[in-house]
């Protein structure tokens, strides 16, 4: 239960952090809230040679409001996502999802950037960022880079981040008129990890869906968009039948990452049922 030896640095600027990451090479690892990493270190599931602690980088803790976007600093905690007035007003899906992350103590330490960079396919925040069409803001030796969330998650616990790059923030569009959101999380029991998560944003005009973003957690090696369902919903009437019909397009070929001992048939069925329920719930948001 004692981690393998590593060096530790606590830079005070993003530039210093990037320099440290670069110097540390493949053995360097960023620690944000540490709620996943410390546990992995103690069990020696990861054995970095250098830990770069980004807890002191004030720039990464800010929430900045732009005309059409919100830029959320990477070390914004889940607790802050849950309570920040701007996040609640402009990106309520992130607040909804933060409510489901860990427990209160974990939410006080765990960060949005940490969760996104950790890229657990069963993680709730990555699915929400994907549903939001969020952009991942990265600083590296070559300067700033913005990676669309659709390109950011490349595999289980793998992202498009280079080893010498630091995730500094997530930019999400402000929610416009007519949009409603919901996050449906299904677990086998209260403390179990997500068996299936459905992040939904829909927009209706009158009795018609005009837009739909749906992302699923634990339905693949990364969070995935339910594109077929989205396409079917747009232009469809706002009726339970239409929603059911669209949700039933989930064909069950999605392979869950963490199976938790349940059958593929059950997961495929859950995906359809929960997607339907999530869209219906979003409508009554």
């Amino acid at each position: 239960m004692i981690p393998a030896p590593f060096d530790y640095t606590r830079p005070t600027t993003v530039e210093d952090a990037v320099t440290a990451l670069r110097a540390g090479g493949a053995g360097a690892k960023v620690i944000a809230g540490g709620q996943s990493l410390v546990r992995m270190l103690q069990r020696r599931l990861v054995r970095p040679t250098l830990l770069v602690d980004v807890g002191c980088l004030s720039r990464m803790r800010e929430v900045v409001e732009e005309p059409d976007h919100l830029v959320i600093g990477a070390t914004t905690t889940q607790h802050e996502l849950l309570h920040d007035a701007r996040v609640r007003a402009h990106a309520p899906l992130l607040s909804l999802v933060a409510r489901h992350v860990g427990d209160p103590a974990v939410r006080h330490r765990g960060t949005l950037g940490g969760s996104v960079a950790h890229a657990d396919p069963a993680g709730d925040p990555p699915a929400a960022v994907l549903a939001l069409d969020g952009e991942i803001i990265v600083e590296g030796p070559r300067g700033e880079r913005v990676i669309p969330s659709a390109e950011f998650f490349v595999g289980p616990f793998r992202t498009a981040l280079e080893p010498d790059e630091l995730l500094v923030g997530v930019r999400v569009p402000k929610m416009g008129e007519g949009w409603t959101v919901h996050y449906e999380k299904f677990r086998l029991s209260a403390q179990k990890p997500t068996l299936l998560g459905v992040a939904v944003m829909v927009r209706r005009v009158g009795d018609c869906f005009t837009d739909a973003h749906i992302a699923l957690a634990n339905s693949g090696s990364t969070p995935v968009r339910a594109t077929a369902v989205e396409v079917a919903l747009v232009g469809a009437d706002v009726t339970e039948e239409a929603v059911t019909k669209a949700a039933d397009l989930l064909d069950g070929t999605m392979e869950p990452f963490a199976r938790q001992g349940v059958s593929q048939a059950y997961l495929a069925h859950l995906a359809r049922v929960l997607t339907r329920r999530a869209v219906v719930a979003a409508l009554s948001w």
Binding site: I2, L41, G55, G102, P104, V106, R109, S189, L274
Partner: protein, 900 residues
């Protein structure tokens, strides 16, 4: 690292943490023992502390990051000697049992905002409690008061608080590892990666070269002698198949060597470097396969010496008995049901892991073992036999024990610390990790139970047969006891003239099974209660009516397939009252149900002997102290079940004094001569009887001494509160204490035995879309005889129900093809949280038992037993599907529905 400084509860610590150290170990290293280790993975919440006012899991918090911060542990919650309101509330509601999780709950609760208080299931998600079932914790947080003030002469039947309450809520109760022993060495174990292998060589050179590593102990250092890790009064009841370290390993995770280091880090580093060469042997991990010809033999031992029934067939123990004529009974039946039921491995998940310390007293040279055990005296006897020590040279003592549930009726660590201490003559400690607890301690025995039951059209049973296969794993320990008990009260609870049992406890190369709350009964009760329910459905009669017609009645003999047990009788009978409670609950209207959900209700009953068979000895001693108060010494241990509270009530009641006048010492081989210990639900019935007898003897001694002192005839002397009224003049106890020392002793030999009853009933709603089940109502009726402390007995019932609920819906220790445990953390093995556990209405029958102390019966293991079958029976009523395999997880429920 320079300039590190952290303020903890107002005190400054400025020594830098070790590289990679978490805040939990840093704090404990500085004597803040209120911070507990339950998992070291952020799952259980026992180590929760405030950092700058915010609760965090200190095990996931790098200690370095506490630099410049204010840390508050449970020890710092009180200010200026005034308890924090949440501490007062936990005391007033008695929001704890063993108390190991309490510090974490207090810290979490102290930081709750209104939103958190309004949503406790979510707010308390990060804190696990294994004892209470959470209702008492909810009451504490919401400010409900239960504890009454002690007063002279009215102790029994009242809600008096646990003696250790003030220590528990302030973090000053001392559990096993909460001691600072100078020069303490640390032990880490090397464990087998193979299910079955012979060790051909162990190279310890690299481990010994690690700075700080003192010694590596292997099978070459261990006694050749075999023993059983199970602890029972009669040693010969258990198989003799275990060595401290063996040269053959029989399951993945079996201990192979111990590395002793000056620090945990050195011991861990050394353990990683011990090189073991194995000759891998064929393994069998399925109990049915293990009994087939040609299966690998787990223990190639002499059957008589090792006390194994058929070692060559991997059969540790078996039972084949028939009462009446089963075949004839079956032929008479109007309906027959036959089904096969399976229950998985489960983990006790006591929040305090196993562990022990051993040290030599510098002056006397005597060895002390401080351990988390249910059986200090039996463990001393086992250690002395193993290492050829006279009992006078060894003291075994328990601190406060952080949960047991049967898992600590086992010697799993004490042998290793004694081996190391004898070798090095220095103090040593071994504390298991949560992961070791899963893969290297014991589990509940997985059972496969086939039931065949026949009845007449009116529900009268004509034939009942069970066929049981129990997987005892790689070592036998409790295997025979659990097997025999499993086919005892489960079968005897029903009137049926023809009964048959065929049962096998089978060795496999799996993690060993062991004693677990219910001791086998729960597994067979699940099968029998499910089968009877199904039979009732097939006969078209009310399942509750079938039980009322078929269950034993007052005055009935208690017969299993083996006939009647000599000293077991229905001393008192409250089952009818318990069934009436359920009947009444069932008649009440169903509350609101989500649209489209299926609703049904179901019940199950259970019976349990109030003590184990074949002798269980309790001993207590009472002493009058100089200040006129009494010191009660009890031999047995308590691990959160509340027996200590009741012991003090029993003594105070007999002496006519307030409980505050009786101090308690316990769980220490220096206190009394011999005590079998805390298992088999004996804390109140046996140890309590011993206490009562010591107190009654003390009453006689006090009256005699007062009579002599006052010159008044003893017939005119009577106890009055804090003294003896001798014909009008009161001689205070303190005056009597000035004379001859007054000490009395009480014994109980645990026979004859009575039975206690439990009935559980659920009303459930099932979501056919996902298999999610909601408990609409949960009712438990218990016949505990006279209830000596209603608050605490209710807590025992709720805790048992919660553990039974976990077994019913969630818990399963999984193993891979090689038997390796794959669910070795709370992140994989899910103990129910606050959010999972339904609130249960608890009812007690109005019964007085002539055999128990002041009419009491046991209520320890038993509330667990009817929960899973009641749940399955309610599911059957809701869905029409008979579920036979535990646990009844959402995916299994959905699968059952979609197959239907």
């Amino acid at each position: 690292m320079t300039g590190f400084e952290v303020r903890v509860n107002g005190r400054t610590h400025d020594d830098a943490p070790r590289p990679g150290q978490c805040l939990r170990t840093y704090l404990r290293g500085h004597g803040w023992f209120g911070v507990k280790k339950g998992c070291d993975a952020g799952d259980c919440g026992a180590c929760t502390v405030h950092v700058d006012g915010t609760p965090v899991h200190s095990c996931l918090y790098p200690a370095l990051r506490a630099d410049g911060k204010q840390v508050t542990t449970v020890e710092g919650l009180a200010t200026d000697g005034e308890l924090h309101p949440v501490q007062e509330q936990f005391l007033a509601a008695q929001g704890f049992q063993c108390g190991f999780c309490t510090a974490g709950f207090l810290i979490t609760a102290a930081a709750l905002d209104d939103e958190g208080r309004a949503d406790l299931p979510r707010a308390l998600k990060g804190n696990l409690c294994r004892c209470t079932g959470y209702r008492a914790i909810e009451d504490a947080i919401t400010g409900v008061k239960h504890v009454e003030e002690p007063a002279d002469g009215e102790a029994v039947g009242r809600n008096l608080g646990a003696p250790a309450g003030p220590q528990v809520v302030t973090g000053t109760a001392r559990y096993t590892f909460d001691v600072d022993v100078p020069g303490l060495l640390h032990i880490k174990l090397v464990r087998s990666p193979h299910a079955h292998a012979r060790i051909t060589g162990i190279d310890t050179a690299a481990a010994l070269a690690v700075p700080g590593v003192r010694v590596v102990l292997t099978h070459e250092d261990a006694p050749q002698r075999l023993y059983s890790s199970a602890q029972h009064e009669i040693v010969e009841d258990d198989p003799c198949d275990t060595r401290v370290f063996d040269d053959v390993v029989r399951h993945v995770g079996q201990r192979v060597a111990a590395v002793v280091g000056e620090t945990e880090a050195a011991a861990e580093a050394g353990a990683r470097l011990v090189r073991v060469d194995y000759e891998v042997l064929p393994a069998v991990t399925d109990a049915h396969a293990a009994m087939r010809p040609g299966a690998p033999v787990v223990h190639d031992k002499d059957p008589v010496e090792a006390r194994i029934a058929r070692p060559a067939d991997n059969v540790l123990a078996e039972l084949h008995d028939e009462f009446g004529d089963f075949a004839a009974g079956l032929a008479e039946a109007d309906a027959v049901y036959r089904g096969t039921f399976r229950t998985p491995r489960a983990q006790h998940a006591a929040l305090e892991t196993h562990g022990a310390l051993a040290w030599f007293d510098a002056e006397t040279g005597r060895l002390t073992v401080r351990t988390s055990t249910q059986t200090p005296f039996l463990t001393r006897r086992s250690l002395c036999a193993l290492f050829d020590l006279p009992e006078s040279d060894l003291r075994v003592v328990a601190g406060r024990v952080g949960g047991g549930f049967g898992g600590k009726q086992e010697m799993l660590v004490e042998d290793v610390v004694v081996l190391a201490a004898l070798r090095l003559r220095e103090p040593v400690k071994l504390e298991l990790t949560r992961s070791e607890q899963f893969s290297g301690s014991t589990t509940r025995h997985p059972f496969t139970v086939e039931v065949e039951v026949g009845a007449k059209a009116d529900g009268t049973l004509t034939a009942l047969r069970v066929h049981v296969v129990s997987d005892t794993g790689a070592y036998g320990n409790h295997g025979p006891g659990v097997l025999f008990h499993s086919c005892g009260e489960s079968i005897a609870a029903y009137r049926c003239p023809n009964k048959r049992t065929d049962a096998y406890a089978v060795y496999t190369h799996n993690v060993p099974s062991g004693a677990y709350r219910g001791y086998g009964l729960g597994q067979v009760i699940f099968a029998v209660e499910s089968a009877l329910d199904e039979l009732a459905h097939r006969l078209g009669i009310d399942p509750l009516l079938l039980r009322e017609r078929s269950a034993v009645r007052d005055g009935d003999p208690l017969t299993t397939a083996s006939g009647a047990e000599e000293d077991l009788l229905i001393g008192s009978y409250g089952l009818d009252q318990c069934l009436d409670v359920v009947r009444a609950a069932r008649a009440e209207p169903v509350g609101p149900v989500p649209g489209g959900w299926l609703v049904g209700d179901g019940a199950a009953l259970s019976m349990i002997a109030t003590a184990p068979p074949r002798g269980h000895f309790g001993e207590a001693r009472l002493r009058l102290l100089a200040d006129g108060t009494f010191e009660l010494s009890v031999g047995t241990a308590e691990f959160g079940n509340g027996s200590t509270t009741v012991h003090r009530q029993l003594a105070a009641s007999a002496l006519g004094v307030a409980t505050s006048r009786v101090s308690i010492r316990q769980s220490d081989t220096d206190l009394v001569r011999h005590d079998t210990g805390a298992f088999g639900s004996t804390g109140v019935v046996i140890a309590g009887t011993a206490v009562l007898r010591a107190a009654e003897a003390m009453v006689g001694a006090l009256l005699g001494a007062a009579a002599e002192r006052s010159g008044v005839d003893v017939s005119r002397c009577a106890l009055v509160g804090r003294g003896v009224d001798c014909g009008g003049r009161v001689v205070p106890f303190s005056e009597l204490a000035a004379g001859e020392p007054l000490t009395t002793t009480g014994h109980c030999d645990g026979t004859p035995r009575s039975v206690a009853f439990n009935v559980h009933w659920f009303r459930l709603a099932v979501d056919p879309g996902t298999g999610e089940v909601r408990v609409l109502r949960s009712v438990h009726a218990a016949d505990a005889g006279q209830v000596l402390n209603p608050m605490q007995c209710r807590g025992q019932v709720e805790g048992g129900v919660a553990q039974g609920f976990g077994a019913a819906v969630a818990e399963h220790v999984d193993t891979g093809a090689d038997g390796a445990v794959t669910t070795a953390a709370f992140r994989q093995y899910h103990v129910p949280t606050f959010a999972d556990v339904p609130r249960t209405e608890v009812h007690f029958a109005d019964v007085t038992d002539p055999l128990g102390p002041l009419g009491a019966k046991s209520m320890s293991e038993s509330p667990f037993n009817p929960v899973a079958p009641a749940y399955a029976n309610a599911l059957r009523a809701a869905t029409g599907v008979r579920f036979t395999d535990l646990p009844l997880t959402r995916d299994r429920v959905w699968l059952g529905l979609s197959r239907d």
